[in-house]
């Protein structure tokens, strides 16, 4: 006899299993890390084995891959794109520049820590991370999804004011429609 609690857990397991094995990555090369994405998707490394494939528009995508540094001008577009994506959604910070600014820690036009502006589930360090590192980052994300720990999107909903405040510190001209009405 399966109790109600168990059946919920089974449902959750199946959902997470599907989410884990089907990651649509938004085709948005925000920085120079975009150069290691084609090798990751092509023959030697072939990320499609893990169910990772590209998605053309934010509505269809599950994973936002921030490939490297974010210029302030790009940050605005990244936030727009992130808010257009459908829950549950995941963010992977790719490269050292997303962690602490990396090479460009003192630049006037690049942000230094990505997770102050949008929630990040997995960071991949290195400049640049090799395709193996990228794939291992994705596998880590899959583990988190299966365990239900990849809940950055929920964190974003709950702490929206804090994130907004940080975002508005950089984006002076804030004209942003609500995409999820």
């Amino acid at each position: 006899m399966i109790e109600k609690k168990d059946s919920l857990a089974i449902g959750e397991y199946i959902k997470n299993f599907a989410r884990k094995h089907s990651l649509f990555v938004l085709a948005y090369g925000t920085g120079c890390g975009a150069i290691e994405i084609p090798p990751t998707m092509t023959s030697r490394y072939d990320a499609e084995r893990f169910g990772i494939r590209g998605a053309a528009t934010p509505r269809q995508a599950d994973v936002l891959l921030i490939t490297g540094y974010l210029a302030t001008k790009t940050l605005k577009r990244v936030i727009r794109v992130y808010e257009q994506m459908q829950d549950p959604k995941y963010v992977i910070g790719f490269g050292s520049c997303t962690i602490n600014g990396g090479m460009y820690w003192d630049s006037y036009n690049t942000i230094n820590s990505l997770d102050k502006y949008i929630p990040v589930d997995v960071f991949i360090n290195g400049c640049m991370p090799r395709p193996e590192a990228v794939i291992s980052g994705f596998v880590k994300l899959q583990e988190y999804i299966q365990e239900g720990k990849a809940d950055g999107w929920r964190k974003y909903q709950n702490n929206i004011e804090e994130y907004r405040e940080n975002q508005k510190r950089i984006i002076k001209n804030w004209r942003m429609p609500d995409y999820n009405l």
């Binding site: 199946i14 959902k15 299993f17 599907a18 989410r19 094995h21 089907s22 649509f24 085709a27 092509t42 023959s43 072939d46 499609e48 084995r49 169910g51 494939r53 590209g54 998605a55 053309a56 528009t57 509505r59 269809q60 599950d62 994506m85 459908q86 829950d87 549950p88 995409y179 999820n180 009405l181």
Partner: protein, 302 residues
């Protein structure tokens, strides 16, 4: 209530969905192998659809966007219902009655119109351009497709698919009996499958992903479901009309798979046409063969 009919319909839909999904998976696998890759597992499409249905939010921009995918799935299921899946099966007989080839020609446009209306409401210019491209391309491939079907209907004085299948049991496959109509039909069919070089509607590097640009979550899931059912319906129709139908499920799978692989393999090695090049292509050789097929039919009956 005719319970066996309802059971048959349910089984048909499930079969169509499963087969369509697996064919999609196989095509992804074949593409990957040709591209020197391992590729995803062949059940990958099931996981994709399951994930899309398990999305927790799905944004829509109005009622039409709700209706669009539903309309599409209704139309593709209806198309499936009117195609005899097997020659003499009880379960797969479904709703088909005589005189349905003309009806099917309308029905097949219907689903795409639903998608067009749904995509139109999203307000995304990519969708709008995708829809207009889709409609103009439809004008392209419908010409040889209709010529081929009309040639056959004229030649054998039959509009019912079951009638055509019975006929083919006597005189052999129409593929050989009226070859010109078959060539026209096949070329048009390649266009109907929307694989490269005719993927101008969904062209990622031009229009993001065309009409479904704004569809996420459940809507995209519905579109994929409807797409796989419709693919199977089209394949079965083609097999019924030109390849003499199938008397058991294995034969059906074999025949549909061979037909399905033609556009897939052709797509892997071809770049995409521009819109006007695509239309010009359909109005070239395929239409020429269609006209020859008509003349041949006229010659045969006179």
């Amino acid at each position: 209530m005719n319970w066996s009919l309802i059971l048959g319909i349910t089984i048909t839909i499930i079969t169509a969905f499963t087969v369509g999904m697996f064919y999609g998976g196989i095509s992804r696998k074949v593409t990957a192998r040709i591209q020197n890759r391992v590729g995803p597992p062949i059940w990958q499409n099931f996981l994709d659809v399951l994930k899309l249905y398990s999305k927790e939010s799905a944004i829509h921009h109005g009622w039409m966007q709700h209706l669009g995918p539903l309309w599409a799935i209704t139309a593709s299921t209806a198309t499936l219902m009117f195609v005899p899946i097997l020659n003499n099966g009880q379960f797969y007989q479904n709703l088909n009655f005589s005189g349905d080839l003309i009806f099917l020609m309308y029905m097949m446009v219907f689903g795409q119109l639903g998608m067009a209306l749904g995509a139109g409401q999203t307000g995304n210019p990519n969708s709008a351009i995708g829809v207009s491209r889709g409609l103009s391309q439809m004008v392209g491939y419908k010409v040889p497709w209709l010529l081929a079907l009309v040639a056959i209907m004229v030649q054998y004085k039959a509009t019912s698919i079951t009638g055509l299948i019975e006929l083919q049991n006597q005189i052999g496959w129409l593929m050989f009996a009226s070859p010109f109509a078959f060539i026209a039909g096949l070329l048009a069919f390649i266009g109907m499958m929307h694989y490269s070089p005719f993927d101008i509607v969904f062209a990622p590097s031009e229009l993001a992903s065309g009409p479904p640009s704004e569809f996420g979550g459940k809507y995209l899931g519905l579109m994929m479901t409807s797409g796989s059912i419709f693919t199977f319906a089209k394949l079965v129709l083609f097999v019924d009309v030109f390849l003499g139908g199938a008397s058991n499920i294995l034969e059906l799978l074999l025949k549909t798979f061979v037909i399905y692989m033609i556009p897939v393999i052709y797509g892997i090695v071809s770049p995409r046409y521009r819109t006007e090049q695509s239309i010009r292509y359909f109005w070239g050789w395929p239409t020429f063969f269609g006209v020859i097929g008509m003349l041949y039919a006229w010659y045969m009956i006179s």
